[in-house]
Subunit: 465 residues, 2 copies
């Protein structure tokens, strides 16, 4: 502590080394923690003072409370025994990139406010377009483009606002219809509401939990008959409940015919598109209007880092751009640069491309493919065991690394098994329901999950069932 | 590099120590860098390969390119000679908090997905409500509440969506009117468009750049006569161009009478409310519906960390909440916990409260007040010098730490002076225009800006004028 209250660079250096050791120790030992926190609601609040400190506190006190008060309330998403939701992975290179970005502390709202933040973002979103096998026209040299946003929810919302604005002069908002399947992520229904749509059709799915195209066609026809206008449809590659894949080509073809926006949510499964053998799941992708994918789920890049691609950047920028005097600058006015603040709702921007660049260079494309294929293989192995055992049933296909199963004795047995697994403290899994069927999701994809973790999960399932 | 491609905790520890040293060296030397980057558009993109690497690269290569390719494209927001825009401050404790949050890598979307992330957020937003002198009812024990969002743009947008949803059943969206002043931040106009409003009235300001309440009243009356419904008004405490303060009590009173939502944007100046002598600027705050303030500007907490408070949390949660099966959990269903994903658009959430907690404990309220008062004093000193010199004119009051002036010889001389200052490489300032008047903004508030930096800026202004 200097007498000016600030932490000077030398104290930051000293404390920073301590914090790196704290994080390294955490990552080395994370496997030993009970995966889910078991604190009671309110316990952490009660352990902290009701008022901010008036005087500065020694940093030792902060570290003490981090260990004693905060850590018991942490659920360990970075545990290799994390099988819940989807992963929210970090990795060494990502943490280092985040550290550099925070240290530089630039605001990349405009090209001119830190050119490297914008240009590195352009480079990595173009790299990723190639790695994912996305259309060349979506790269910056084409008419489309990619941008880093916070979350897939933001992308779905922005896509809907862009679609709405394209139709707004001709069609009343209350006459526009949004379509999603009963398995589409809730962010689409939420985004539709926030974007002001009042007509949302939830389309039934088939026995693979993929959108039923015939039902979609019928819904569209009924809406046309009622004088409404189809405006927006979301197709998913890897739904949240079961990682189901909607028929992209068919849905995008319908969208083209109807003049509506087609958005693809590949938030989780997008990572697999780095491996050519998975790209058949995105067949028809060249027909869609927008696409979102989260490196912050399964690609070893810590939250937040969501990629949003559009086939045509003009309607997006038209919908999102405002230029007040204090943001005017020569570079923007020249038209030679990209100002990514015109590609989403917020103005301010962190230097998020840095961590993604660190990850891509550390792993190389080969390293990412290696780990993805390994996770997919582990999921397939687990599915084979579950399928071969009469006590269990798979309730959905497992095209990626999510296995969804139930106890053959029904919902109560399934729920009891899920509770017993979660209460063991040794693993974390998400129970869910598909229609009336209780099921257990096993998402295999945490950065450091290896065969032995999945083997050990299988032993627990076997014993507790 | 291990043969599994991952960076193991020990290599992270080694590289992390290097990165802490890199950041500490940067912060120790940031004053010596030319403040604004001078790279040409496209230069950084050209220096990087067009394709992602196929094979892993040694980390040394990444660090080499960070230094050689990225650093020339950095504009140094953390320089004490940063007088542009508003500050986007970081500080040692904030960087350490960010490092811990990234290392833990939790997703705080629900209470249950990491209770500490939610409960610490509740604690720090309540602490901040008291530090800022906000109404007690806005704390979590009351009917209101605070939440950490990404940016003031997000808050303005969310406030408008909430206001819209409250009226939607009675009033058509095209009949709802949003009011802002000609000095309101552009995020309000952008947010209104994104929220789907088509009627936005830009209200003239007085000679202090504060919203003219008479003009607001006239606009409302005209809209009522035309059959429209006033829905939303933004009042600013510290506008972007000049840090002007709108009359909160008068505007909030009009909003109450008209049944419209009143949102207060204190993104920049909110920090000063930690000092009681500035709170007269928020007189009437107990009458408004929502309030936003950015610790990530002037409160030593690195981006992103935006606080959004509402007087009543129910309409916010009603507008933002969706509960699909895979997010259902006992804690949420019990109603005993807060799920902050229902307080904004995105689902995913970083553990942002950690850095704010680190900052508040390291500085204490006293430390924050000390630095804010010092920056305000430095701004007042500079204003006194400019005012006493016949070559210059102040063009606006300086209630906080932003001084806006012009060259007495007019727009051309002002623009030339701004260009000469920026091209020196020694400082960064933002030129702007107020109506037809060119002006120069001097924002004094970077974490490490001291008297000698402002003295040196004054010498340059004196010499170059």
């Amino acid at each position: 502590m200097t007498d000016s209250f600030h932490m000077d660079p030398e104290e930051y250096r000293h404390r920073g080394h301590e914090m790196v050791d704290w994080v390294a120790d955490y990552l080395a030992n994370v496997e030993d923690y009970p995966v889910n926190s078991t604190v009671a609601p309110g316990a952490i609040r009660k352990a902290l003072p009701a008022q901010a400190p008036e005087e500065p506190e020694p940093f030792e006190n902060v570290m003490r409370d981090l260990n004693d008060v905060i850590m018991p309330g942490i659920t360990h998403w970075q545990s290799p025994n994390w099988f819940s939701y989807f992963p929210a992975n970090s990795s060494g290179p990502s943490l280092l990139g985040e550290m550099a970005a925070a240290g530089l502390g630039v605001q990349g709202m405009l090209w001119s406010t830190s050119p490297a933040a914008t240009e590195l973002e352009t480079v990595v979103v173009d790299w990723m377009a190639d790695l994912l096998g996305l259309p060349t026209a979506w790269k910056t040299a084409g008419v489309g483009g990619g941008v880093i946003q916070m979350s897939a929810s933001d992308s779905a919302h922005v896509a809907m606002v862009t679609a709405r604005e394209q139709l707004r002069e001709q069609i009343a908002l209350d006459k526009m219809v949004v379509y999603a399947s009963d398995q589409t992520h809730s962010s689409v229904e939420k985004g539709a509401r926030i974007a002001g749509f009042t007509q949302v059709r939830i389309i039934a799915t088939d026995d693979q939990f993929a959108m039923d195209v015939t039902t979609l066609e019928q819904a569209i026809a009924a809406d046309r008959t009622a004088g409404l206008t189809p405006a927006f449809v979301t197709a998913s590659i890897g739904t949240t409940a079961t990682s189901a894949v909607d028929p992209i080509r068919a849905i995008a073809g319908i969208a083209k015919r109807e003049g509506m926006w087609c958005h693809v949510d590949a938030a989780y499964a997008g990572t697999t598109m780095t491996c050519p053998e998975f790209r058949h799941h995105q067949d028809g992708i060249e027909l869609v209007d927008s696409y979102t994918f989260n490196p912050h789920k399964w690609m070893f890049t810590n939250f937040d880092c969501n990629l949003y691609y559009v086939a045509d950047r003009k309607p997006l920028i038209d919908a999102m751009s405002i230029l007040p005097p204090y943001l005017r600058n020569e570079a923007t006015l020249s038209g030679e640069v990209i100002d990514y603040r015109d590609w989403h709702v917020p103005l301010g921007r962190r230097f998020r491309s840095l961590k993604l660049w660190f990850v891509l260079r550390h792993y190389g494309a080969a390293g990412i493919r290696h780990h993805i294929r390994e996770h997919v293989r582990l999921a397939a192995d687990l599915a084979t065991k579950l399928e071969a055992d009469p006590r269990f049933e798979l309730v959905a296909p497992h095209p990626f690394a999510l296995v969804v199963f139930r106890h053959a004795d029904g919902n109560e047995a399934t729920t009891q098994l899920a509770d017993a697994l979660n209460e063991s403290g040794k693993v974390s899994l998400t129970p869910t329901t598909l229609g009336d069927v209780a099921a257990i999701r096993v998402s295999i994809g945490q950065t450091s999950t290896k065969a032995r973790h999945v083997d050990s999960l299988w032993s627990m399932i076997d014993q507790l069932a």
